[in-house]
Amino acid sequence: MKFVIESLTKNGGRLGQLHIKDGAPEQRTPLLMQTTKGGSIPCLSADVFESHVTRKPQVLQFTLSTIDQMTEALAQWNRADRGLSDYVGFPGHLNVLLLRDPCEMTPAGGNDRDIQPLFTRRGKESLSPQRYMEMVASLKPDIYQGLCDADTNADSSKKRVQKSVDRTEKFMQYIYENKSKVESALLAPIVGGYNTFARTQSIKHAHEQPADSYGGYVFEGFHTNGLAATTLDASKLLPIVQHCVGQLEEGKPRMVPGAYTPLTTLELIGLGMDLFDTSYAYCAAVNFKALTFTFAQDADAVVHVPFLDITDDANKEDFTPLLKKCDCLSCKKHTRAYLHHLYKTNELLGPILLMIHNLHHYLAFFEAIRQSIASDGLQQLTELVRRQNGDSQVDYGIAPNRKVISKATMGKGFAAAAV
């Protein structure tokens, strides 16, 4: 894995090229990775994703908590050297293996001396560093994250934060000693909640290793995934991130998994973060929100709202698209009224159409971000996203919807809703 910085401005973000492996296309950063559940882009088949979202090769973000049960099959599959992405229907796409699903809240607790809890659909599993490395060897991701305890958020006690740093250090000792047994590139985990001292320690632990031991960093422990990331207090998060970034070398990419809002994402990019995922677009879709915020600099001075709430009865006879001027399938062929009907009737096509729109919108957002950095306009873009041409800051937080389309509503035969 190689990472080259193309341009860098203070508080204006950085543009880079991420070269993950030979023969694969280079990825431009800031990069939006496609988050997956059970190996699939949520609600979308590979065919639908490629036909209606994008044909460009993506970096798929796999989570061990949703694919651990496939390890045995993948060990067999990979004997023919076919790869994890190929197994889930995306041959040729790059991938990153994380531990936790950024789309769902990770339960607290279950932390043990030598074992990391892994919350799968079967319940809590115990993951030892040994077992983790065996699984990585079987799954053969292009990139994997180091094992860490990230069970912290803004409310965590000092003691819990310190534990997460200490346990992570211990897990990582084993990973560094055994990483030569796997071919995948490693991301060093940086934990330590909202405590500058703890974060510094965690960075120091990574820096004690030779520089080529790992290819980048993954920042966790700011939130416990799911909707929590959409409502976290950016004024607490950003100073910590800034503190950490000051201690990092430029030449390694920095990943921040989770459903950060578009505004927080821009602020994190401004501080020098590089790798993000689509969990925000997913969290919005399953809670029946179509993303409608504007990121076009030349937008008319119209005030935009962050999302369209599909559940609102005002949509019942509104035969306009989700977002005017959007050229995704959902907006070109379908209406707010139809989406509202699909919500009312618990139909699976609702989240499918919302995922198509939200992913389409978010990919375009990231394209706009990269362009703005190139033209030194990230701060301008951040202000546009912050106020959407209005007077006050827009709230991008996502409140849970009572009626998420769950397994239970998909009819008999579908397993009862897990978690």
């Binding site: 059970g38 067999q76 699976l348 499918i352 159409l353 035969g413």
Partner: protein, 418 residues
Amino acid sequence: MSPRNIPPLTYKVVAECSVSKARAGLMTLRHSEVNTPVFMPVGTQGTLKGILPDQLIELNCQILLGNTYHLGLRPGIETLRLAGGLHKFMGWPRAILTDSGGFQMVSLLQLAEINEKGVNFRSPFDNSECMLTPEHSIQIQNAIGADIMMQLDDVVKTTTTGPRVEEAMERTIRWVDRCIEAHARDDDQSLFPIVQGGLDVPLRQRCVSALMERQVRGFAVGGLSGGESKHDFWRMVDVCTDHLPRDKPRYLMGVGFAADLVVCVALGIDMFDCVFPTRTARFGCALVDSGQLNLKQPKYKLDLEPIDKQCECSTCKRYTRSYLHHIATNESVSCSLLSIHNVAYQLRLMRSMREAIQRDEFPKFVIDFMARHFGKDPIPTWIQEALKAVNIELPPAEEKQEKETIKQEKHEQAIEVS
């Protein structure tokens, strides 16, 4: 849209089997041409669960079924009218057929009560009392705007016997006249009457004769596929197709198992619908010629083959049984993937039958299909009898067994009807 002087439905027989009653036809509707025999996937509430309209077009699906009962409740007649009909509302440019809503009343609602006026039921949403009359059913179907609509019929359980069956049949005939009278869009939509008469041959005959006196463009055969014996089932279909006119399409309601489709095409049916292929997909089952694979079974965990190597659907091109095993009934995308495969399977089966009829090789197709479908198991007597009635003789069991021993290897993943 076609000029007004062309009827909203024209049907012509393209080829007929020289042995059985099977026929291939071309039905031209306002929104699509439909090659028959055809299987119509069921999109109950204005969507085929988990599938985009674009994907259905890619599968070359020409006609979908919508349920009047569900659509009348949600989104409701007003919204449908404002949208300009169901085609526009759901973004489906091709043909649609709607049922009358009567069947759901009886199957879903225990409180339904039928009298001469209509079907009296309680709304499942606000528990208020509602009455679905023939006029009301047509009014909703006119708002939906389907290419083909069904009369409201008096549905009785298929296992009912005695005077109630005759009463339902007679009432169905009276109601078709009220439906025709209420039908406000005969230039765009074709109303099919429904042949009733339970499992009674003379009643079925009488019903067909009476309905044939009405000006209609096609016929449905109803009141079957509801738990009656297969022996009675095929005889009723056979009686109806014997008496229905040759130049109009015949629709057998609620039939969709592969073997039933093949037998009923041989008996002269042109149109079918069934929720089975998409419902079984949600249970993790994939349709193949030998029956269905229940992908949840542990034996598929390490099976790195596609569902069916011969299948050209997008699911078989990209995914293994092993991956589908892991996500079936757990990730919602598995519903979409298996539904695509199962709809593709049904449509391919129908296409194979059409092509066999056009080459006049349908009997051979039937014999080969039954061998693949039943493998080592004996072919049910009712299928043998039904096919024999239309001059298709299946090979005797002994000979079959010899053949099957050779094929044994191939049939290892035998039928797994859940």
